[in-house]
C-alpha cells in the first residue's frame, strides 16, 4: 500500500504527513532537552559554588564547533534549495558537505572529551561535569542520528529522486528540519555550558 500524503497536503492539516510528523517529533525533542536544561538550572541554583565554563572547558574548540555546525545548517538548506532548482549534482555536493561537517563536529567533540578524561575529569567528578557530559553527550547522539539519515539520503536513499523527485525533496526538507534543530540546541548549549 502506498503511503498517503507524502507530497500532496492533507486537507485537514494543510501539510504533508512527513512535515507534521517531523514537527511533532521535534516538539517532543524540545521537551527532552527542556527537562535537561531545567535540571541544569536546578543544580546550578542549588549549588554553593559553580565554576565558569571557560575555567574548565575549551572555548576556542567549542567556538570552532559552533562555526562548523552553523555552516552545516547552511549546506543542508542549500542541499534542499538545489533539489528545488532540479540540480541534483549540487544537492550531492551540499549534502556531502553537511555530512562531512557533522564528522568534523564529532572529531572536535572527541578531542574535547579525550582531553577531559586525560586530565581525570569525568561525569562523576562534579555536578557541573555531570550535566556537561549529559547535555553534550545527548546532543552528540543527535548529531550521529542526523548524520546517519543525511548520509542515507546522500547515498542509497537518493534513488527516490529518479522516481519521485518531489517526495525526495520533501524527505530532504524533513531531515533538514531535524538537522537545524540539532544546530539550534547547540546555539543554546554553547553559551550556557562554556561561557557562563
Amino acid at each position: 500500500m502506498e503511503i498517503p500524503y507524502t507530497v500532496a497536503e492533507r486537507p485537514d492539516t494543510g501539510l504533508n504527513n512527513g512535515k507534521i510528523g517531523i514537527w511533532l517529533f521535534l516538539a517532543s525533542e524540545v521537551m527532552l532537552f527542556g527537562a535537561l536544561f531545567a535540571s541544569y538550572l536546578m543544580m546550578r541554583l542549588g549549588a554553593a559554588e559553580w565554576p565558569r565554563g571557560d575555567s574548565i572547558l575549551n572555548v576556542p574548540l567549542a567556538t570552532l564547533n559552533t562555526v562548523i555546525l552553523i555552516s552545516s545548517s547552511v549546506t543542508m538548506v542549500m542541499a534542499w534549495a538545489s533539489l528545488k532548482r532540479h540540480d541534483f549534482g549540487k544537492y550531492r555536493l551540499f549534502m556531502g558537505g553537511t555530512v562531512l561537517l557533522g564528522f568534523g563536529f564529532l572529531i572536535i567533540k572527541y578531542i574535547e572529551y579525550s582531553a577531559k578524561f586525560h586530565h581525570g575529569l569525568f561525569p562523576s567528578t562534579s555536578t557541573f561535569l555531570a550535566i556537561y557530559f549529559t547535555l553534550t553527550g545527548l546532543h552528540g547522539l543527535h548529531v550521529v542520528g542526523g548524520m546517519a539519515v543525511n548520509a542515507y539520503f546522500w547515498g542509497p536513499g537518493a534513488k527516490l529522486w529518479k522516481s519521485d523527485p518531489e517526495h525526495f525533496t520533501n524527505r530532504v526538507e524533513n531531515s533538514g528540519l531535524f538537522w537545524h534543530f540539532v544546530d539550534l540546541v547547540w546555539i543554546f548549549l554553547f553559551p550556557v555550558l562554556y561561557l557562563l
Partner: protein, 98 residues
C-alpha cells in the same frame, strides 16, 4: 510550489542569515571575555542565543512561512518548555519549609 526566482531569493537570505549567525557567535564570545556580573552575562548570552535561534528557526526551518498547525504545535511546546524551566526557579525562590 516555489519557482526558481523564489528559490534564488531565498538562497540570498540564507547567505545573509549565515553571515549574521557567524557575527553573533563572535559577539557571544567577545562579551563573555568582558567578565560581566552573572546577571548581565546571562541576559546578554540568552538574548544573543535567542536571536540566533530565531534566525535558524525562522529562515532555515522556514517558520516565517509555515502553516498554522505548525505554529499551534510549537506554541504549545514553547509554553510547556517555559513551564518546565520555571519549576526549578519557583522551587529556588519559594522553597518549601521543612
Amino acid at each position: 510550489m516555489a519557482d526558481h526566482a523564489d528559490i534564488d531569493r531565498q538562497v540570498k537570505i540564507y547567505i545573509l542569515v549565515f553571515v549574521s549567525l557567524m557575527a553573533l557567535t563572535m559577539v557571544t564570545v567577545a562579551v563573555s571575555r568582558l567578565h560581566l556580573p552573572i546577571g548581565g552575562a546571562v541576559a546578554v548570552a540568552l538574548v544573543v542565543a535567542t536571536v540566533k535561534g530565531g534566525l535558524v528557526a525562522g529562515y532555515f526551518m522556514h517558520l516565517v512561512s509555515e502553516r498554522k498547525l505548525v505554529y499551534w504545535v510549537l506554541g504549545f511546546t514553547v509554553a510547556f518548555f517555559f513551564a518546565v524551566l520555571l519549576l526549578p526557579l519557583w522551587a529556588h525562590f519559594e522553597p518549601i519549609a521543612y
